[in-house]
């Protein structure tokens, strides 16, 4: 009989996801810095116009999704390392999922107002 002894095999997937999302955020960071430098000086009309563009919204959304996913893997790692009681760890994990989901919802709300 074939038996699975450990885990749910999410380790490799999370490891990979953390790296892919990291790469996306590195690219966005360079892109965002370049865009802001190219639009100096930043006044309100310039700022508003910038985030009204489709590509900027989509790129920023992609960054926000990457951040939420990346942060989840990181937060889970930290909680698994330091919080030993199962009940407390699970509670904190749920709270952090809610927090990160709220961040994402807020970002969408800002981008598509």
């Amino acid at each position: 009989m074939k038996r699975l002894v450990v885990g749910a095999h999410y380790g490799l997937r999370d490891w990979l996801a953390q790296r892919i999302t990291a790469a996306i955020m590195v690219v966005y960071t360079g892109f965002a810095v370049a865009v802001v430098l190219a639009h100096q000086p930043i006044t309100y009309p310039v700022w508003k116009e910038l985030f009204a563009r489709g590509w900027m919204r989509v790129a920023t959304l992609l960054f926000a999704v990457s951040l939420a996913w990346h942060a989840w893997v990181g937060v889970r790692d930290i909680l698994m390392d330091y919080i030993k009681p199962d009940g407390l760890r699970l509670t904190l994990q749920v709270l952090f999922i809610l927090l990160l989901a709220s961040y994402l919802g807020w970002a969408v709300q800002i981008l598509w107002r």
Partner: protein, 134 residues
């Protein structure tokens, strides 16, 4: 006095003073723990703070000007400085880890050198960007 049969007590729990003053962490260790600390800081409070700044500054002209004034407050600038450091250190250390995953710089010597580069680059960029804030 030590005999081969002497059992070591495992796991060994360390006191906080031991962690702080007795264990001397090698440079890659510092990069690692600072990567973790900066990552935690970016989740709380900095993501929330930046979303707030983006939200208010994009709302209307008034909000934009309010954020302008807000960013001139010394305490806010100090917070911005910590954010810049956390972002830069996390970014540079992260790129180093991505390279390590690709087997780039895994020798002890190069790992120590890149560790120093990450720490210094993070602080340097923070200083440069911080200077432009003030």
């Amino acid at each position: 006095m030590a005999s081969a049969s002497a059992k070591k007590i495992r796991p060994k729990y360390l006191s906080l003073p031991a962690i702080l003053f007795q264990i001397r962490l090698p440079v890659p260790g510092w990069v690692s723990i600072l990567h973790r600390i900066s990552g935690a800081l970016l989740v709380i409070p900095f993501t929330a703070w930046l979303l707030y700044l983006l939200d208010t500054s994009l709302r209307d002209e008034e909000g934009f000007q309010a954020i302008r004034g807000y960013l001139d407050l010394p305490l806010v600038k100090l917070g911005m400085l910590v954010f810049i450091w956390a972002y830069c250190h996390h970014l540079f250390a992260g790129i180093r880890y991505l390279l390590l995953d690709l087997d780039v710089g895994i020798e002890l010597r190069s790992a120590r050198i890149t560790g120093w580069i990450v720490i210094v680059a993070g602080l340097l960029l923070t200083a440069v960007l911080g200077a432009s804030l003030w």
